[in-house]
């Protein structure tokens, strides 16, 4: 799985980490039953604090995307994989946003608003 962190961003590092894992689940690079990298290894590679990684993993657990088990680390849950029709709908949505020259941040804001 690919994780990208931009320290210059205003979004907290743990939020960026969690978002990156969600995106990897979304594109199918992480599948139910897959193990996330150990927090120690990920923290060392990205040069961030191990507690930042653990906090991101805990957020993903609270969302039901991963199970945290002692000794086994973080494992992607069965519920994590989004239904294929949703993935298709998102692809259409992003294509529509591109056509309309809507910035990614604006699209995300629109989606968040829809949830409220």
């Amino acid at each position: 799985m690919l994780i990208r962190i931009d320290p210059a961003s205003t979004e907290a590092i743990f939020g960026q980490l969690a978002a990156a894992v969600r995106a990897e689940i979304g594109r199918g690079a992480l599948r139910p039953g897959d193990r996330l990298p150990s927090a120690r290894e990920l923290a060392a590679s990205l040069d961030v604090n191990i507690h930042t990684v653990l906090r991101a993993y805990q957020e993903l657990r609270d969302e039901g995307l991963v199970d945290l088990r002692r000794g086994r680390g973080a494992v992607v849950t069965e519920q994590a994989a989004p239904p294929p029709e949703l993935v298709g709908a998102v692809r259409d949505l992003v294509a529509a946003a591109r056509r309309a020259d809507v910035a990614p941040a604006t699209l995300v804001a629109l989606i968040k608003e829809e949830y409220l």
């Binding site: 320290p7 210059a8 193990r35 990920l42 040069d47």
Partner: protein
Amino acid sequence: MSRLRIPVPVVGLAVPAVISLAAVTTAFVVAPARDIAVHWGPDGTADGWAPAWTVVVGMAVLGVIDALAFGLPLFATRREGPSAFQKLIAAIAVAFGVLMAALGLWVLLSQLDAAAEPPTIGVGLPLSVVIALVSGVLAWFATPRPMPVDPKGVAAEPLALAPGERAVWIGRTRLAWPGLVAVVVAIVASLGAAVAANVTTEGRVGALFLVPVVLLAVLVLTSFWVVRVDDDGLDVHSPLGWPRFRMPAAEVASAGTVEVSAVGEFGGWGIRSGKGRRLGIVMRSGHALEAQNRDGRALVVTVDDAGTAAALLSAVAARATAERG
């Protein structure tokens, strides 16, 4: 390709068929109308007798079995060339056909003189085996080279990284079932052989039990891998931390993906050495990450989503080169 190569079905089917047919025809013509020696005891002297025509029929039946048993896999051809397995089957078909023809003809031709003593098997058997082995080796080299699906590989487009952006790609890979079956069979076979040897020698060769133990240790240490690409470069290690293979970002000349054939290119599974200074962590055939070192060596790892890993490795290598100036 510098010399003539003969297609696998021709070598594996037509050659044994022609040899068998020629041998059976010769045997039919020379077979005397009486009983001859057809079985030999452990000391090499004849102890079984049968009419000569049974040898001719036996040769014909075995020739047909040879063609049928080994023929089928040869027709599942791929456009790019035969698999190593198909080459092996063709070589075995030729060796088996030659062995049967040589043995049958030797049995008949050495007993044409009715007054002479039947020969001992001491010459005919080893001679036939040697001729068969040589034929098999020739058949192997007569067939085209086993070809990987995509021997060249595809260089990855570097991932666009913003200045200061940090990125890591971590993937896992583990031994797929063909390799797993091969190792488990080897462990069970060596364990069985050790038990059998120790029973028959009243336990005097206990050291043989080291073989399955060592194989099991190799299985545990080399069947699971974590593949990591970050600012430091490529790092492939067992979850236990050892063994570990690295290629620092500044030493990466290029990164890409390649389709590998485990048996065809690396001769099996595990930590393998391939042609042209390529080290392979080969857990299955198929999609793999290939990193070229500036010194000419390459590291190949079969792992899912290798394209993303290669793109990031290309990016961090470019960054490391830029930093060095």
